[in-house]
Point group: C2
Chain length 353, copies 2
């Protein structure tokens, strides 16, 4: 690898002159700068950032710690962040946790050892104590989820409101037995979404019935399937379903498709997020659209600002975005209890190929 020293020797200059020329220092003559730049380009010189960091210059790397990049929710975020980072000459390290605190810790150790400039994290439900400690020494922002032990900087969506609205939409159609498939309440997002679901029921004068809220790992498609199965196999199954995460929604939809459940005739469904295929599912999935791109951009800009200007004081910062409900074909009033058997059979045949 070519170093400033190589250039210096070739041009019979000192390393410091070369360094200064490369840094466009006003004290260096234009002619020298030109010679240095030419030699550097010709020799294929690439500055060694490790060496620069040792001199105290901050790293230009930011760590992105998320559950799973395959979740389009997170890949959208990663894309948005990546673009903003690149525009400001920063790089993004991708770290996946799969919601495992041990993997989370391992990644934070690595990021810490790399002396990253900052971290953007969607924390696991219960981060390891060492993770908390490591993050305390790093500029960081929480995204979507929010853990009290971590810093006060957070960008997220109004989870409560999103689920309240989704549920209210079903209630407006006249449903009274509504099932909910969501994340665990130890996760702030999980708790808030569940609270939104319940709040909507309460406002409609309904009590939540036992067993109609099934909670579990939010990043698991398989759990979504299991949850749907459990709800539908109940003695008194719900007439409508709301979901509280993208993978859970995928799981629920898979299960409904494989069972041949007719939507919205037999069951209404409101999804979470707006994946590419959601509009194609059955009669089109009514779902909560979340403003992820805006949120990610805001988050990136905030962190970059935080990194470039010396923080006066780490004041709490919170930004909440609200989503909107996209109404498609998967929601309708509940079927009358006594259905015409003929009608049902006809419909079944049409759908099963």
């Amino acid at each position: 690898m070519i170093t400033t020293r190589d250039i210096a020797e070739r041009l019979d200059l000192s390393v410091s002159t070369v360094g200064r020329a490369l840094a466009d220092d006003p004290r260096i003559s234009e002619e020298t700068k030109l010679r240095v730049r030419e030699a550097a380009a010709e020799m294929g010189y690439v500055a060694n950032r490790a060496a620069r960091m040792m001199r105290g210059v901050a790293s230009n790397v930011v760590g992105l710690v998320i559950p799973d990049i395959r979740n389009s929710f997170y890949s959208t975020i990663a894309h948005e962040l990546s673009g903003n980072m690149e525009a400001r000459d920063h790089q993004l390290i991708l770290s996946e946790t799969d919601d495992d605190p041990v993997r989370e810790l391992r990644h934070l150790r690595e990021l810490s050892a790399s002396r990253v400039a900052g971290v953007i994290i969607v924390p696991t439900a219960r981060p390891h104590h060492d993770s908390v400690r490591l993050l305390a020494a790093l500029p960081h922002v929480q995204l979507l989820r929010r853990h009290p032990a971590l810093g006060a900087q957070w960008f997220g969506i109004d989870d409560f409101q999103v689920l309240q609205r989704s549920t209210a939409h079903l209630l407006a159609h006249g449903h009274s037995r509504i099932g909910y498939v969501g994340g665990p309440s130890e996760l702030r997002t999980g708790a808030e979404r569940l609270r939104g679901f319940r709040s909507a029921l309460e406002q409609a004068g309904l009590r939540e019935e036992d067993g109609l809220a099934v909670l579990g790992k939010p990043s698991s498609v398989a759990h979504g399937r299991r949850a749907a199965r459990r709800l539908l196999d109940d003695a008194a199954p719900p007439t409508a379903l709301v979901t509280g995460s993208v993978p859970l929604t995928l799981g629920v939809l898979e299960e409904l498709t494989s069972r041949g459940v007719r939507t919205p005739e037999e069951l209404s469904v409101v999804g979470f997020g707006d994946e590419p295929g959601f509009s194609w599912w059955g009669p089109g999935l009514t779902t909560a659209r979340l403003p992820v791109t805006e949120m990610a951009t805001d988050c990136a800009l905030w962190l970059l600002h935080r990194l470039t200007t010396k923080p006066h004081r780490d004041t709490a910062y919170t930004s909440v975005s609200t989503g909107s409900l996209i109404v498609r074909g998967s929601t309708a009033p509940p079927a009358r209890s006594g259905r015409l058997p003929g009608e049902r059979a006809a419909q079944r045949t049409r759908r099963s190929r």
Copy 2:
């Protein structure tokens, strides 16, 4: 930040002893090691990798250069690579090019400055000369696409065979006017897929008809829509369509949906890749499944091997995976030219809600 020197001072040892204790050097007594490790943990010491790199230890960072992480094709790859890297204590830097050689170069410069251990790249169609130069100095592997100016290491799929099979499937159904929407032939993948398409036609004794192959930016959903529009608006539209990239497929499907084209009655479609929603589209999309996860894993393991063992010689390495065709409902024999108007009207109504 805590350094080995801080630990040394606290324990009244020398930096070298501390360093050796941390590195588990056999010359250090167990007792000293224990004391050092305890102090390190307590003080929250995290090794400075930049300093270590300056001593010649290789970086543990690998650059992943891809067009767009939102493409589930690439996010799957990123996930797979990330997992394998983590298992071997490596980190992944995410760099998106959006198929722009300038962005590609910018990223490679950054990666080079960071002295990454290696690079995994899905190159743009025409990489900048400097990109080629930078990559020449780095261990790297090409993924999916393959540019002759870059190294001989490549992991990809048999693009030719994939499209040949997809097209053959349509031919077997009796189609003779088949449209193709794919990437540009300056891209190796684009050229190979087009070749596969043409080869299938030839084997069936057909000549490719003018204008039935529409090529364009492979990562553009919008181009997929435009291409579909152009093909369907033709005076003699095709009776079937094959696509040659995930985003193009998404675009084509969108266009077909918004036009209310009946599939497979009016038009048969074979997609590319197997996105989550493809099975939900219309009657279920017949599509080419590609073994991306296996390919990504192989690629990661190969690169890690290459990084850890000193390369005897950079022998050419090529691994080609073949996919399989998933047959769902979107393909059928072409409609007879004289259709019953009544039948058609009925179908239309049913589908447009």
